[in-house]
């Protein structure tokens, strides 16, 4: 992947990420995050991982983004429900901490020597779905099965969280229902 393209895509990703964390409106933040996720997908495509780029678009740009927009739509937040704007002091502290993280990471990256993208073994199949799934279903099949258990646990957790709230609201309606009022 040409260096200029990486710089351009990187600027797009970081800029969209910065817009995501500074937008007040959640819908705009979600749209900016979509741009950042698409940029990361493009970078993955340039790094010879077409299958992961497709998964990035499908899972992040599709599934997770739909979840976010659905929740934004469900809540339809008013201005006072989003809380006040963070104070300048907390913003400054957060900027300092993130710049500290960035400088530590960049120091580590600049200190490692002589990384390059060599390509003697790279055939067309590297990163393809077939090559990828050969490894996924042989060497890493235990991890794959464990992830299915995790997703199952997540589904169960979402159902429990959604149901308990629903049940308490039902109980409240029952307490204040018309039958009870007629009785009292």
């Amino acid at each position: 992947m040409p260096t200029l393209l990486i710089i351009l895509a990187g600027l797009l990703v970081v800029g969209a990420g910065l817009l995501t964390v500074t937008q007040r409106n959640p819908v705009r933040a979600a749209l900016c995050m979509l741009v950042a996720l698409a940029g990361v997908g493009a970078l993955m495509l340039g790094l010879r991982s077409p299958f992961l780029a497709a998964m990035q678009v499908l899972l992040y740009g599709g599934a997770i983004m739909v979840l976010f927009t659905f929740v934004i739509m469900l809540l339809t937040l008013r201005e006072d429900e989003m809380g006040p704007e963070p104070s300048d002091g907390s913003k400054l502290g957060a900027a300092f901490m993130s710049l500290l993280t960035l400088s530590v990471l960049w120091f580590g990256i600049s200190r490692r020597g002589g990384a390059s993208y060599e390509a003697p073994r790279l055939g067309e199949e590297f990163g393809s779905a077939q090559h990828f799934s050969t490894f996924l279903y042989t060497d890493y099949v235990v991890a794959f099965e464990l992830v299915t258990v995790l997703v199952l646990a997540a589904v169960a957790g979402v159902i429990v969280l959604g149901r308990s709230a629903h049940r308490t609201s039902l109980e409240q309606t029952k307490i204040a229902g018309p039958g009870e009022e007629a009785h009292s």
């Binding site: 970081v14 992961l52 976010f68 469900l74 060497d139």
Partner: protein, 111 residues
Amino acid sequence: MNGLTTPDLVQMVAAALFSVGVFGVLSRRNLLIVLMSIELMLNGANLSLVGFSREMAHLPRGAAEGGQVMVLMAMAVAAAEVAIGLSILIALFRHVRSVDVDAPRATLLRN
């Protein structure tokens, strides 16, 4: 910028994306945006893993593909995490009528 190669640039983009996510988590009070920032951090880590996987592609069989499998696992974990996080957000909003993480009644999660 002397001695800075293309793999280093990819890692720096990943580090910058991660730091942007850190800034969002630390500075924002809207729980939705905090969750989005966590997604950005996860994406930075994923991009870093893909970059390292591409660097090791010339090594013997199985060295580079491990990183790619790890990225797919991280994506699955991120999807599960967002589903749980957003349902917690909705449950909290039903009780508190606010998505502000510093709202007076939102602190009931802390103790």
